[in-house]
Subunit: 441 residues, 4 copies
């Protein structure tokens, strides 16, 4: 996580100020429950809320105390006592530091997940808009980087829409994984604290009570969370690479938006580089990589060791901030993507109609020509066109024209029948069906 | 995937025989649909089913054909024609190889997921049985590898039960991710095949139609699948490491089962090594590692490239077979785990009752002693016991005894009050609550 | 590791037969040393060598024994006794199983490294040949996928040559990392075996004695080995992706070799897919992924745990066999790569000479025009050409022609001066310098 | 990289100030060479050096310019012109931004490597000191976490010393990998800049000229660099886990240093947690994880894409700062590690001398008892001791005593012979040999 690839709303979640605010809320809600069951005076809980609710916790002061106590939660509680006065002695009763730390981390992760889900929603909106905008804009489909058969640019957007719809669902599931709260004491047995406190704090913080904790909330939850972020990042990479391919000089069917005054290079006006999507490719690598330490964090020793902590202090912000930034950047790219339908047709046409060869083959077969003969006939004509393309990067010969003068073809297919096989509509006839499947609401 | 760490039922899913059987079913179901909408003769579909349903596909013959055609699906179709006769010419009409390959891969993955879910169910059953068996068996809880406060061995099993319940849900979700079918032609536009064929095959094979495919089924689904397997493997590692710790010579609170005649070492009778759980630790590393290439597989170029294929030919079997083996091995370990309740108490007692020091501290405070004084009093007594432990590995002095003769303690706490603080029941009073949360049905 | 991506010479290293042969050699060499220092009779060592040297160890028989003993080394020793007779009782004296297992694994890895180094040598030879063949074949250099300035195809090959030269050195280093032998007994103290035995076996097997072992050879060595393989795989991926890009329909500057009769698609003659390099992309992902579990293997507990073993049984063969196959496949691709110099020029020319715009800019500046004016002048002319390209995918306007009629240009540059700026030789003048750096011998 | 796990000297390398300083030096050295070959006036080079050498570059001013130019190198050059005056127009002549950026990154990495190597040297010194301090301090060796045979604590330190000596060599190699400089222009052809400039700058900055670059320095170098850091981190993890094991309550043979006033827990005096080594375990996971994106960075498209940049902006500082911190922390841990030789003996003795059972077995065999009988005799006595241990966690029966009264033993072995087998010196007799191998200088 570095400022260059960060957005303020997500970064905010990971500031010390936010963390101390969440700690306060956990402690204060716990006091409410403790007061309710008679462990601490109700008045004390009230005072702590009153003094703390609008207090601003002094990060430098807390750091200063921590330098003495070498314990961050104790430092915070000490500072809270400075703010709340003598009633603060009832704070944290029967609790253990991890109760606060782990519940706070999960609050942060669920908030981060909320932002990520909103990011995906914005991306989905952009994809949907561009999908319908170019629903019928024909371009060549490519397998292995080689021209195959026509698709539409709208279909590409629809595919991405479907993929990010799945990512959205995964993020919702991932959020649920970490939306738990533990207030269960030193080894998770509730020896010194009533389970009702946990239930109250969970409810108050919008979480579920962790069914069984062991001082810490089990880290398989977090492994699943960060693994999911890695999958979402991989989908970002896919769409980014699609744009990078389309912007290649030789393809140039789409381009990242360039503001009027922007310069790609000081000398070469054609240097519009797909730097945003290249950047996204790198960011995806980073987010993906955080899944590994998150998985290694699962196998803590016995009731807990603290090896997960240093990992999470890093990947908590690093993974969420970077993914948030990447999703927003991708949304911008899609939103403003320059699309060149003319170039799409030109690129397709450079092969002189060869993309229709399969249809001619089928037509000949259906007209009674043996498969072997049909293949020979099609290939004979297609190879002329292909060689012409291969020599010059643009076919000077037209496949349809060749077929119309080949007696073996015209013997079984009329001119109309041949021409009909070059109809692009044949390839797009089910686009509406696919759109209906993808955009269900 | 190697025989040593494989079980037949999972391996079976990945044999050529199974693959060809699934290919046949996809092709034959597709023919049914094609026949239904009038593209191929109903009689042809019937014949293909009749001849193929019980046929055994000859793997060597197909390999032989593939050496000529250099194309596995064509080789299969040629062999199918040898079996089904002239009606086989209607097979695969309008389809592309990936329609068969990708749908088959997803059938294999869902079957693999079914086995994995059943594996987890067996593990859950073992964990539940052992959890209730040792629900009230007190042992020391350890944070950072250091004695903390008492838990029960049943709680450890309950924690694992809760964790693997989550893993079960994740596997169900992962199964759903890959339970899709695509029969959509060369670039996914259904240009040459009616979408109804896809819908029929999906239904017949127990899958959902992929909303939008691009010759291939999108690989974010598989990334999620293999990432989930990595998380499950990490949970296996956690429980394996718990057992390894408990079996250490110095701890010895539990042991992997040893058959009566088994020898750990030819000379040293105490050499009972936790080799099964060590093995599981390694297997977890492997399953986890497969998540990375699965995520890198997502960003295929344009409508598809085939870079994912070599990865999946490896991790498809490798990840599922290894995880299946690991889950079964772990179930065996838990099922037959030797548990030593006596040793648990002995280990706890080696610290001479020090684990209760926190309760004494609280009692003194509640009796009106200032926190500073209370801490000083407790520490004074505790340090004697601790030094005794530290010197000999077993406290020769008893914490309770020391307290009972300390005038500063006895001034405010009666003997009964002191003795009561050493009651283990204090720590286990909420075990039933936790069990009720974990074992809901 | 699967047969489809395996070559026999590397696979051979990992067969049970080879393993037992290496075990025998380790045991027999150890006997020689033991005999030399008087621990076992010299005659016994002689007999074991005589009986075992040409014996074929019966894998099924050893497996059968292992089913009883549950110990692979003991099973082997039992079988060896069946072959060598009573003198076999002196075999393995004072040794521990890991002495044999770990030393054997390192022998296998060094042999694998030898093959990999030879693979890289073959690749280097192919790269060098193609580099000199196309040393002066100009093609466009692309940054961000966008045309930049001219390079030569030979330079691309030279870059790959330099990269794989580095990979070769890395493999030599990696080989050295694992070329160690340990015969040091149960916990590495040589309590029951003289260190001279280790030294003798090391020498005899072409290894170094491990300075200090702990029953096992330390796994940081193997982590480094497999990490290095991951880096080499990443270089394979780079070159594979270069080929895939060059073979794209719109670029088509090079193609994987197609045998005359080969079909890329049953209908479309242009469907020559870069399937070999796509396959290599996937294989690189796999080899890279094995670095992770190898690194996790380092932190064994105390003097050893056996968690590394299951990992190594998999990645030992998987990583080396796959990388060997990938290197050989890449060599074949480079060796037979179809290169189209004409197309390279055509692609470059499609931008109507725009790639020379920077030189014009510099010439104007050097002729006294202010940088601002020079930029404006160049851009005015360049944009005409670029728009023409952007509209049609091929510039209908020529940059040089435009410049020659622009009074602001001709005011300061003569026609000759302008024409000279379009000389491709300007860009290739240092190719020989670079080649001299890269091909030093 | 977060402040909590950072040290100033390493962090300093990655500040904007340092980066701009390095950029300046690269540009100024390049000017020297350009002046030498007559491309720019020598006076200009002199002025730039004079004005820039001691200038402090204003990071905020440069950021401000970058907000307009959207290009960091141009922003820097603009600011440099503000400092150096009109002569600055000769700066950067014929160079491309990557020439500066990539060379600077490699300067930073080599400086980072220097610090890391110094860190390892400090660690090696600590390990060597502790190794000799405890060279003959016997403790039990453990395989699989189970007592095996005696080793010495010094040997454990020697093993770590040998491992980090290897890590040192790897870091030196890794440093060499990235110690290259490229000043080769837009696509690496030196079209606009003489190769002698590169050679001069390389020499001046302590680097080698990159034999062939492509606008960028090839990223296989960096992949190897970060992979090496991952291996070093894994060795840190190993030693950290050793300490964590030794500090377990039940083992307690060593402890991380606790300052007199430090509190592990507010109530429990025995709560000295190995938090430093747990922390190191987590940091190792992080450093290891950065190897993956570094390897994925290798396969840039054609002459370069910029996807590596975002990755390196993160892992450049993250990996080096974290590893530097971890090495220093580990050095502190080793340096001040509390070692308890008495406890080592107690732990060993808890098994009542069982660790010597193998020697008795061998002695009986050598005295003529058949292997079967010898095993039966040893096992009979050993099992008594073992059961006693298993029941109580400390054997109440002594193995030697049992043997001395077993007629089948005393029939062939004298008391002296039996007693001699319990000599710990037998296990430590080769410690000096091993130390001589490890500490060669």
């Amino acid at each position: 996580m570095i400022p260059r690839y960060s957005r303020p709303e997500m970064t905010e979640i990971w500031t010390p100020e936010t963390r101390f605010r969440i700690w306060f809320e956990i402690e204060a809600h716990a006091m409410d429950a403790l007061a309710e069951i008679g462990v601490v005076p109700k008045e004390a809980a009230k005072v702590v809320w009153e003094k703390g609710r609008h207090a601003s916790f002094d990060v430098e002061r807390i750091d200063e105390i921590e330098r003495t106590t070498k314990h961050d939660v104790i430092a915070f509680l000490t500072h809270l006592a400075e703010i709340a006065g003598p009633e603060a002695r009832f704070v944290h009763q029967g609790m253990t530091s991890s109760d606060v730390l782990d519940t706070c981390f999960n609050v942060q992760l669920t908030r981060a997940a909320d932002l990520l889900i909103a990011d995906v929603d914005a991306l989905l909106a952009a994809l949907k808009r561009r999908a319908f905008e170019y629903k019928d804009t024909v371009c060549i489909g490519r397998s292995h980087g080689i021209h195959a058969e026509p698709v539409t640019f709208g279909l590409k957007m629809a595919e991405a829409y479907a993929e990010f719809s799945r990512c959205r669902k995964r993020l919702v599931d991932a959020r649920e994984e970490v939306a738990t709260c533990a207030i269960s004491g030193a080894v998770g047995t509730f020896a010194n604290i009533d389970p009702r406190v946990e239930e109250h704090v969970a409810r108050a913080m919008g979480l579920q009570a962790e069914p069984v904790s062991t001082q810490v909330i089990p880290r398989d939850r977090h492994a699943m969370f960060f693994a999911t972020l890695g999958v979402v990042a991989s989908s970002i990479e896919r769409l980014a690479i699609e744009v990078r391919h389309l912007q290649r000089t030789e393809v140039l069917e789409a381009e990242e938006y360039f503001s009027p005054g922007q310069k790609g290079s000081s000398a070469m006006p054609h240097k519009r580089n797909p730097v945003l999507t290249e950047n996204l490719t790198g960011l995806a690598r980073m987010v993906r990589s955080y899944a590994m330490p998150a998985m290694e964090n699962v196998a803590l020793w016995h009731e807990r060791d603290i090896s997960h902590s240093s990992v999470e202090r890093m990947i908590g912000p690093d993974a969420t901030v970077t993914l948030d930034f990447a999703l927003a950047r991708l949304t911008g790219v899609i939103d403003k993507l320059l699309v060149y339908p003319e170039r799409m047709l030109q690129n397709m046409d450079r092969l002189g109609g060869l993309v229709h060869s399969q249809r001619i083959l089928l037509a000949l077969t259906q007209a009674g020509v043996s498969r072997e003969d049909a293949y020979r006939i099609v290939q004979r004509n297609a190879m002329k066109v292909w060689h012409s393309y291969q020599l010059a990067g643009r076919a000077d010969i037209d496949f349809m024209t060749e077929l119309l003068v080949d007696p073996e073809v015209t013997a079984v297919l009329s001119e109309d029948q041949i021409r009909e096989k070059f109809d692009l509509g044949y390839h797009t006839k089910h686009v509406d069906t696919i759109f209906a499947r993808v955009f269900k609401d």
